[in-house]
């Protein structure tokens, strides 16, 4: 790669050929404002429609150009602060705001909104243009994603995530001119589409057009109901992200503070979804070994991710027999609370409310699935996102940074390192391999670290020898990568034994319910590393060593794969419409 010399504001810069003006300017500390541009470098996503026209700079002798979409050339001279460029940015922002509700005080996205930040950066004090406003019906049809397209600025990042990255193909530009808006096929409510509710659209939306459906009010209600026994479970990925909402560095492990915060909110028991994860590992390993030994259908696909489950139900209805029948950790946990735990503490399960704190918007939909009920009770009553938990802390005047570190309640708060790494791409598979190796080799595992399966890459694979059998494992995150893998399996070109799939790039740490990363994938990297740090520090790192899990099987479930386990911990999948 050769380099190119250019001048930005008369300052010489030398950059690699192919670099955009935007990146070259960053190199010398000039941060040109952008709005529609999104570059998720680690996931090879470069969304540069150059449609917002905010990042204008003046090219000597040529006039205005967009810095996000123009590559540098030898001898280029660019000026970022000329009268013309400044005026263009301000008037373009004025245009955008003239078609925006500007209800920031009551908007979900306030404080996290990139349009709001841009207004701050440009110090716009007046919007001179008034006239017709885009009006679109609100879509609160689903359990997971809320759409208020009157706040849409047509950056179309959501389209890139939905179509290019996830290959789900629900969101697309409809209409022309002033009426153009991102919408679903035939303007159907999201609930009636093949949307998987992965929430990646909401994770990258710069404004409040795409947000999670909120269930905070329901949780406040049950917390203040004296007749309810409220149990909370926290997903692995939430503990390494919630701190960001309170000014902690990305990658800070805030488990202890989160637990004490949850107690202060009034939850009766604070438990860990990682316990459910350990349980999932037990069941899934059993299923895997059964299929391996008895010539069952391989590869076995993990089924912890609700978005991925809905994806294959829609897109690969002919392959419904290959995913594991195990429920996700969230649902297993809920099922155990409303049966085993209710009996143990002598409370009617109808009076127990299970709340889950999830990095995910699809978990809300998963909790509401008809399959996930026990005696007409939902296993999990309310699922709220990491962001919602942060909002609840704020509302309750709790500053996480000043809280003491507390520990989970027992017995369902006990977990191993294997249960914690579920939150990162590759974690479920690593946890399952650890357990399978112990069972098949019939001795404790010496080296529990499977480094090849870690990291944010969209596709990873490894081969491990367990008890003389070579096990080929594949990991994919992002539904687009999953589709490629599934198509190989359909054509019988893949020879994997076990495959982990997560819908979100990077796994749950990059979920649609996490604090916003605003395109900075370094944050996801740090969250992932934090999870592996927790694992490294854990005394027990193989799920079968979890004492609480052992006790659960001894007292209640008998063995992994028993009929009782099947009844409570396994599920069925159904064919869904391809449209």
């Amino acid at each position: 790669m050769y380099t190119i010399k250019i001048k930005i504001n008369d300052i010489p810069v030398e950059v690699e050929a192919g670099t955009t003006i935007l990146r070259a300017a960053e190199k010398i500390g000039i941060k040109i404002p952008t709005l529609c541009h999104l570059n998720l470098h680690d996931f090879k996503v470069d969304h540069t429609p150059a449609s917002c026209r905010v990042c204008q700079v003046e090219l000597k002798g040529k006039g205005l150009i967009t810095s996000c979409a123009t590559s540098v050339y030898e001898g280029m001279e660019v000026f970022t602060n000329t009268q013309k460029a400044l005026r263009a940015r301000r008037v373009v922002l004025e245009m955008i705001l003239s078609d925006h509700p500007k209800d920031c005080l009551v908007c979900d996205k306030s404080g996290n909104c990139e349009l709001q930040s841009l207004g701050e950066q440009l110090h716009l004090r007046n919007v001179r243009f008034k006239g017709r406003m885009s009006k679109h019906p609100l879509d609160f049809s689903s359990q997971s994603i809320a759409r208020d397209m009157s706040k849409c600025i047509m950056c179309r990042r959501c389209e890139t995530m939905c179509n290019t990255v996830q290959t789900v193909g629900v969101l697309s530009n409809t209409g022309r001119g002033f009426d153009a808006v991102v919408d679903t096929p035939m303007h159907r409510p999201l609930q009636d589409t093949k949307c998987t509710f992965c929430g990646q659209c909401a994770a990258v939306c710069p404004t409040g057009a795409l947000m999670g459906i909120e269930h905070m009010a329901d949780v406040w209600r049950v917390l203040n109901d004296k007749n309810k026994f409220v149990v909370v479970q926290t997903a692995p990925a939430t503990r390494v992200a919630i701190g960001e909402m309170f000014g902690m560095e990305p990658g800070t492990i805030a488990t202890g503070q989160m637990i004490s915060g949850l107690r202060r909110l009034g939850f009766d028991r604070v438990f860990d979804t990682s316990f459910g994860a350990d349980l999932t590992v037990m069941e899934e390993t059993k299923e895997f070994i059964d299929r391996l030994n008895n010539g069952g259908r391989l590869p076995i696909l993990t089924s912890c991710c609700p978005s991925w489950v809905k994806f294959f139900e829609h897109q690969f209805p002919d392959l419904l027999d290959i995913p594991s029948s195990c429920k996700s950790p969230q649902q297993m946990f809920g099922a155990i609370v409303k049966t085993f735990y209710a009996k143990k503490i002598g409370i009617n399960p109808k009076d127990i409310v299970v709340v889950s704190i999830m990095p995910c918007l699809a978990k809300k939909y998963e909790a509401a699935r008809d399959e996930h009920q026990i005696e007409n009770m939902h296993e999990v009553d309310y699922s709220i996102s990491t962001r919602e938990l942060g909002f609840m802390f704020e509302e309750a005047c709790i500053d996480l940074t000043h809280l003491p570190k507390e520990k989970y309640d027992n017995p369902l708060g006990e977990s191993t390192g294997a249960g914690v790494i579920f939150g990162s791409s590759g974690g479920v598979l690593e946890a399952t391999l650890r357990n399978a190796a112990e069972i098949l080799d019939k001795k404790p595992l010496q080296n529990v670290d499977f480094h090849e399966v870690r990291g944010l890459d969209g596709f990873k694979e490894t081969e491990v020898e367990i008890n003389g059998i070579k096990i080929k494992a594949g990991i994919s995150c992002g539904l687009g990568n999953a589709r490629k893998l599934l198509e190989k399996i359909r054509k019988k070109e893949a020879d994997y034994h076990i495959i982990e799939i997560m819908a979100c790039p990077g796994g749950c740490i990059g979920g649609g319910g996490q604090p916003f990363h605003h395109g900075n994938t370094e944050i996801l990297q740090k969250r992932s590393e934090a999870l592996y740090r927790i694992d490294k520090k854990s005394k027990k790192r193989v799920s079968s060593n979890n004492e609480a899990i052992k006790a659960l099987y001894d007292e209640f479930l008998d063995n992994p794969g028993s009929s009782k386990a099947h009844q409570l911990l396994h599920t069925i999948y159904r064919k869904r419409n391809k449209e």
Binding site: P49, R53, V91, V92, M95, F129, G131, M154, G177, F178
Partner: protein, 228 residues
């Protein structure tokens, strides 16, 4: 190439019907500019048209007489752009809509004189920042009329008048009592039945119901309808 606008209009085109007065020639389609009477001797070719802020464009030429309102002409061409905009970039999607709305306000007497500065700035930014050729040229009719016919914009805003009697919201029809013979023709043609008066007596227009359509003016044989 090289033929002047005047030659084209008066010699080849056969002049303006009903001997009306030449006001402007618009060249190059909806993205072109307007040539006023003072520049009627401009030769038609790429360079010369460019010098006077117009273009060859599609090669079209629209000649307008004094019954055309230049603000309304700009608005008319912008309506075309609004239809054609794909909606991808902000300046074309939102900017053109705002331009159209400002022009509408001017033709309805709802604008103040500062609007013209805003209008000009908006036009320039849309031109400079739009993604494709459509948005980059859509403000041309506005910029061109604003430059050559600024007096018409000012007349609309300051006096609330449309000289060409095109902008209906600015018009005010009354019956001249001295001239009306009570033939009832205007009353019979009025689409909203707001003209009252007995046969052979002076008629009058009920202003609260009048929609300024001009039917009475067109039908009167005695020039008894006045437009303010």
């Amino acid at each position: 190439m090289g033929t002047t606008v005047k030659e084209l209009v008066y010699n080849m085109g056969g002049g303006i019907p009903k001997n009306k007065k030449f006001k402007a020639a618009q060249t190059g389609g909806p993205s072109g500019g307007c040539i006023p009477e003072s520049l009627i001797n401009t030769p038609i070719d790429y360079e010369e048209l460019k010098k006077i802020d117009s273009i060859m464009g599609s090669g079209g030429l629209i000649v307008m007489d004094d019954s055309s309102c230049m603000v309304n002409v700009a608005k008319y061409f912008l309506e075309f752009t609004l239809h054609e905009s794909c909606g991808k970039c902000v300046p074309c999607r939102i900017g053109n809509m705002r331009l159209f709305e400002i022009l509408t306000n001017i033709t309805e007497g709802k604008a103040d004189i500062n609007t013209l500065e805003t209008l000009k700035e908006l036009c320039e930014v849309i031109k400079e920042t739009s993604l494709c050729g459509l948005g980059q040229s859509s403000p041309n009719p506005v910029l061109s009329t604003l430059k050559r016919f600024k007096n018409e914009y000012e007349e609309h805003i300051n006096q609330g008048k449309c000289h060409a009697h095109v902008c209906t919201k600015l018009l005010h029809y009354t019956i001249i009592a001295d001239k009306c013979v009570g033939c009832t023709l205007c009353a019979r043609n009025c689409p909203v039945n707001c003209i009252e008066g007995k046969r052979k007596e002076v008629h009058f227009i009920n202003q609260t119901e009048c929609i300024n359509c001009g039917e009475c003016f067109n039908s009167c044989s005695f020039n008894a309808i006045n437009i303010l």
